[in-house]
């Protein structure tokens, strides 16, 4: 009671200020359309970062309406608020410790029962809650009727019906937030109560711990979380309680280890009472859209064929539209570099002109030409994700992923890897257990990204002419084969231990929202641009400098050549001259550099190379190139996501050994066969 009174006083005090700011936290279970609401509220006025010390995305943003300023924070999507995952801890810690003025709880109107579970938890925390019934259109499509006023009467909190993908309900939501904040709304929530079976235990626990509970936590909530067996709260209270009190508490908790099921059951019983009058379900009517689509899309045979078809279309769209754009940009860049060096000749020192034309435009600029391909790829995948299809793809692929100790959830990040390995590694965040996430991160760089495929697209025809297409397919298959073998080996031999749980909701299908897809693409592209503008740019300049100095502009006498000649013995066992070894080295900056470097070292390499190296050596080179250590940006992402140098170096070492090993093997075996 005291706490509530304090919040009200604070509210009245801040109202006196001219331009009032309301701090609003957005919560909801996964797949309820929370991001769409957040994007609709904040538009481009949002900041994406990480939660301090966590690899979980944090989105904040704001909007103003009249004299009112709203600060939104988008809390991670969670099914409950028990400390099962880092997301759940973040969500509840924010509400407990940062004290938002209002919490907006988003539920899916088409799955009212399940998605209200989070509300049952939120109502026990010290912040007023506004409920959003989102996806009213999807509910109607599935034949489910929800009456917001009836639900509001039952819950005693504002209930706002929304259809965020169509932009409906945003004004009403802001109105409700203000009304709760300034006290105009008679906020009087009906909180869920625990089953009688555990009521006495709960009261006993509260009596024991009340005086010791740290001030940021409500005592009754802490007692309930103890009874639920929440690891984090157990640890907090073990530290806070005197030893003899803790002994009592600990004994009691041991006797009620099964309480979690009863507590969850009681919450669902409460939800049942709340929605009884408000939700009308179809008896046995015509099947909903989702059920009809899933008869095909989750079928073991048809679903697999459908997935292959979908992937075919994804790649066809990406390359049919993206490749011409990429070549166009590439051509433009070459001309730009020429114009630049011609125009600046004599104006600036020679080395500076070369730096601008070859180092900046030829290095970092080259990477940027892949932007169209990435944009299309991410847009198509974002579209599929936003319809709800990707969960079906994860379900279909689960049985294949199982052999590697992964499950279906690793499919999406790995698929992203075909565009660029960096988002693949960031995308592994959706996997809950560390073991499966790290394994996915280890395997992701084996997915051939657009940049590596571009190198193959240029080099394979030079060496293999008509057969180049088959060589390219073979190389992709080889990469995926190595990925599978490495996954199985790590699963069986290295990372023994618990398999990660595969528990995944299949959301109802719905029409995707252009804005959500747009923001998804923009954020992925932005991450890519930042990398291109920093890491790739810096290393491009360094590599350029190594290839330019000490004898101005003579690459054959440069530091790079010196390093390359040092690698001659290694090159010899692969049948490769040092120039190709240098090309490999520079691919560490960005995979496309292989081509750029060959251009610098040989000039017209298209005509020269076939005469210089044998077909087995050429094939070996392409294999090494495909399996070689990932680019700098990917390595940086691996380090950032695992926060482990050991794992990053392991990843690098493995790729190095595998790629060189495979290259040597192919060259030696091929030479033997041909010479034999």
């Amino acid at each position: 009671m005291q706490r509530l009174a304090r919040t009200e006083m604070e509210a009245t005090a801040s109202q006196a200020v001219e331009c009032a700011t309301i701090k609003v936290a957005l919560t909801g279970q996964p797949n309820v359309g929370k991001s769409t609401i957040f994007n609709g509220l904040t538009g481009m006025n949002q900041h994406v970062g990480n939660w301090p010390g966590k690899t979980v995305e944090q989105k904040t943003g704001g909007c103003t309406r009249g004299a009112m300023q709203f600060d939104f924070v988008d809390l991670p999507g969670t099914y409950s608020l028990t400390a099962n995952s880092v997301e759940e801890r973040i969500a509840r810690d924010y509400i407990l410790h940062e004290r938002p003025n209002v919490v907006v709880a988003v539920v899916d109107a088409a799955i009212p029962e399940r998605s209200l579970y989070l509300l049952a938890e939120l109502l026990l925390l010290p912040a007023p809650v506004v409920l959003v019934l989102n996806m009213m259109d999807v509910a109607a499509q599935e034949g489910i009727q929800v009456e917001p006023q009836v639900l509001e009467a039952a819950l005693g909190i504002p209930v706002v019906p929304m259809c965020a993908t169509k932009g409906q309900g945003f004004e009403a939501l802001l109105d409700a937030v203000v009304a709760v904040w300034d006290g105009a709304y008679p906020y009087n929530p009906h909180r869920p109560v625990i089953l009688p079976a555990h009521q006495t235990v709960l009261e006993q626990l509260i009596a024991w711990i009340a005086v010791y509970v740290p001030s940021t936590y409500p005592a009754d909530w802490v007692a309930l979380k103890l009874l639920e067996g929440d690891d984090e709260i157990v640890a907090v209270m073990q530290a806070a309680l005197p030893a003899e009190v803790w002994a009592h508490v600990h004994d009691t908790l041991l006797q009620h280890e099964d309480a979690i099921l009863d507590i969850a059951g009681a919450r669902y019983a409460w939800i049942g009472r709340m929605i009884r009058a408000a939700v009308v379900r179809p008896k046995v009517g015509p099947m909903g859209l989702t059920a009809r689509l899933d008869r095909v899309l989750t079928h073991p045979l048809w679903g697999t064929l459908a997935l292959l078809g979908v992937l075919g279309v994804v790649f066809w769209l990406t390359y049919a539209i993206g490749s011409p754009l990429q070549s166009g940009l590439d051509e433009l860049l070459r001309q730009g570099a020429e114009v630049l060096s011609d125009g600046l000749q004599g104006v600036l020192p020679l080395w500076l002109v070369a730096l601008l034309a070859d180092g900046l435009l030829g290095g970092a600029g080259m990477v940027l030409t892949f932007l169209p391909i990435l944009v299309i790829f991410f847009a198509v995948l974002g579209f599929l994700e936003d319809t709800g299809y990707m969960a079906r793809a994860a379900y279909i692929t689960d049985r294949f992923m199982h052999a590697m100790g992964l499950h279906g959830k690793s499919f999406l990040p790995l698929l992203l890897g075909f565009g660029c390995n960096v988002p693949a590694i960031l995308g592994a965040r959706i996997i809950e257990t560390k073991r499966a996430r790290w394994l996915t991160i280890l395997l992701a760089p084996l997915i051939p990204c657009t940049a590596r495929m571009a190198v193959v697209a240029v080099l394979a025809p030079i060496f293999f002419g008509e057969a180049a297409v088959w060589v390219a397919w073979g190389l992709i298959a080889a990469n995926l084969g190595v990925l599978a073998v490495l996954g199985i080996v790590f699963h069986r031999l290295v990372l023994k231990g618990e398999q990660s749980m595969f528990i995944m909701e299949l959301p109802l299908y719905h029409l995707p929202n252009a804005r959500t897809i747009g923001i998804h693409v923009w954020q992925n592209v932005l991450a890519f641009l930042q990398k291109a503008g920093t890491v790739i740019l810096a290393v491009s300049v360094v590599v350029w400098a190594l290839s330019y100095f000490p004898v101005d502009g003579d690459v054959t006498q440069s530091y790079l050549a010196w390093i390359g000649r040092g690698l001659t013995p290694l090159g010899r066992v692969m049948g490769l001259p040092w120039m190709l070894m240098v090309a490999l080295l520079t691919s560490f900056v960005a995979k496309e550099n292989t081509i750029a470097t060959l251009g610098v070292l040989y000039g017209n390499f298209e005509a020269l190379l076939p005469a210089l190296i044998t077909p087995p050596a050429a094939l070996g080179f392409l294999i090494v190139q495909m399996l070689f250590i990932p680019c700098v940006a990917t390595v940086a992402a691996v380090k950032q996501e695992t926060r482990s140098w050991a794992w990053t170096l392991l990843s690098l070492g493995l790729m190095l050994v595998i790629s060189l090993g495979a290259g040597i093997l192919v060259y030696q075996a091929g030479t033997l066969l041909m010479g034999g």
């Binding site: 979690i260 059951g265 899933d294 379900y395």
Partner: protein
């Protein structure tokens, strides 16, 4: 009492018990697998994960996970009742 994996597509089971670590129980409980809750099997092909409907949502469960959910098999015909 049978594991969820023993149910054929279209069959309904009432959750009786969850066998597993605390984390597993807690996660499934939040998704609505609480004692007495009806679970309808949508997909079960003998290998690979299952799809079940629980509390109005479709949930994919790995075979291992599903085998740790013990249910009472409901007779066919009661399919339309089953709300708690």
């Amino acid at each position: 009492m049978v594991p969820l994996t023993a149910l054929q597509p279209g069959q309904i089971g009432l959750v009786h018990q969850l066998r597993g670590g605390h984390r597993f129980v807690s996660r499934l409980a939040a998704l609505g697998f609480t004692p007495g809750a009806p679970v309808t099997v949508t997909r079960n092909h003998g290998v690979g994960p299952l799809i079940v409907a629980v509390r109005g949502a479709q949930v994919a469960l790995g075979r291992g996970e599903a085998s740790h959910v013990l249910v009472f098999r409901e007779e066919a015909g009661d399919a339309t009742i089953g709300q708690d």
